[in-house]
């Protein structure tokens, strides 16, 4: 008996595997203590309101939006730090590319300092580094941006906790229920495994999904190293019909 698969035939999404994500209250990350809801989330299938979502056209982006080395430059001077290309593919759980979706990113500078009025770390600001940018995925789901490698920094949690070098990511997908925020780490960094925020992710294999791989093939010679970070969003459920071809 043959079967065909109609992508998204019922339009719905796979249920989120909440055991794969950090639980709301993670005592090792103290900020969750008063901010974690204590009731369980109410699990419902998405309705039209959650299966739809905003779309973003390429024309809304400026030429330097994905160039953190230059997009905040005050006088044409480039940002200080180890130059990187960070790129990757946005996929869904069915391993299908997610094209035309907005990816936003923000990070500390090469010394581990954020450009934020509440940031008190003593590392110096770089006048030519803002630390944020955005890209829209191409038809194959790829995004890329230029930046400098963020520094590690200490933060008030335990007595001497340090964040490993990381870049924050916000991704949309095509349904509001696919909305995701996460953080990217760098392959080989021993501090990943000592971080209470990394440690909120329950499964080691889940943490490994957050680690970008050094990609020598995409290095820009004499200029920038490349790291690849693929992102997986919730996928639409496919419905398998046996021997039925209508609607295809």
């Amino acid at each position: 008996m043959s079967a065909i698969i109609l992508p998204g035939a019922d339009g719905s999404l796979y249920q989120r595997d909440m055991a794969w994500h950090p639980p709301a209250h993670t005592p090792g990350y103290k900020s969750t203590t008063f901010r974690a809801p204590r009731h369980s989330m109410l699990s419902l299938g998405p309705t039209k309101s959650e299966l739809s979502g905003p779309t973003f056209g390429h024309e809304t982006l400026g030429a330097l939006d994905n160039d953190l080395i230059r997009n905040f430059s005050q006088d044409g001077t480039e940002a200080i730090g180890q130059r990187l290309v960070v790129y990757g593919q946005v996929l869904d759980e069915n391993a299908r590319a997610v094209p035309n979706t907005l990816v936003e990113f923000w990070q500390a500078n090469a010394g581990g300092r954020y450009r934020h009025k509440k940031e008190g770390y003593l590392a110096a600001l770089d006048p030519n580094f803002g630390g944020f940018g955005r890209a829209i995925t191409d038809e194959n789901g790829f995004y890329s941006f230029r930046t400098v490698k963020p520094g590690a920094y200490p933060w008030p949690n335990g007595g001497n906790d340090w964040r490993p070098a990381h870049i924050h990511f916000s991704v949309f997908g095509h349904a509001f229920a696919q909305r995701l925020i996460t953080q990217m780490y760098f392959e080989g960094d021993p501090m990943i495994w000592q971080c209470p925020i990394v440690g909120t992710v329950p499964d080691k294999a889940g943490i490994e999904q957050l680690i970008a791989r050094l990609d020598r093939h995409n290095t820009t010679p004499m200029d920038a190293l490349a790291y690849r970070f693929d992102i997986v969003l919730r996928g639409r459920r496919s419905t398998m019909f046996e021997n039925r071809l209508e609607g295809n």
Partner: protein, 205 residues
């Protein structure tokens, strides 16, 4: 009918951290001149429907404001249809984007200028009560919180709403219903309580 299982695991969520305003509302964070804050404006002159403001505070379990939050909303237009900020590969912006993003200020207060949405069909084929989808991230929130805002002056529609009726403890339905305050632009007011006696109902849609 069978549903194949997913091939890949979703990327795990991580907190947006204390400096999420840098990345998502840079101008609010005083980082100007790169691009406008996405989602700052939802309306155009041509937008049809009743102009309203949606305002509220995000409050933690100790009663403190969540000053480093970002709130996004997504909603239908006055006719109950969903649009987008721009049609793909098109330069024509729709008259209503349906999507808004605001930073919480030092008091945890957020404010959106939008329109009252029309009714959207529910999974049971009946209209859902008019509502706005909300998504909240901040330091100390490990995965973005999904909730909804309903309108107090839609009592009959709220009574029959598919999602509200899934909340077994009827008292908790009230955590999603915004009160109306009259003015030149009517305001709908709803506070988001992350924790505590008035904890907002959050959904895993």
């Amino acid at each position: 009918m069978l549903h194949p299982t997913p091939i890949l695991k979703e990327t795990p969520s991580q907190t947006a951290g204390p400096y999420v305003h840098i990345g998502m509302t840079p101008n609010f964070a005083e980082l100007r001149g790169v691009y406008d804050d996405p989602g700052a404006t939802m309306l155009s002159e041509d937008t049809k429907g009743e102009r309203i403001a949606i305002v509220g505070r995000v409050i933690d379990g100790a009663g403190a404001p969540v000053a480093d939050a970002v709130i996004e909303i997504w909603q239908a237009d006055a006719q109950g249809s969903f649009a987008g900020p721009a049609a793909r590969h098109s330069n024509s912006a729709p008259s209503f984007t349906g999507w808004g993003r605001q930073a919480a200020d030092g008091d945890g207060v957020f404010s959106f200028q939008t329109i009252k949405p029309g009714a959207v069909e529910g999974p049971d084929g009946r209209p859902q009560a008019p509502h706005v989808s909300l998504w909240i991230v901040a330091r100390g929130i490990n995965i973005g919180l999904q909730t909804r805002l309903y309108f107090a002056d839609e009592a009959a529609a709220n009574e029959g709403d598919y999602v509200l009726n899934k909340i077994m403890d009827k008292r908790r339905r009230q955590t999603l219903i915004a009160r109306r305050e009259e003015g030149p632009v009517p305001r709908y007011v709803l506070d988001i309580h992350l924790q505590g006696e008035k904890e907002t109902v959050f959904f895993d849609f």
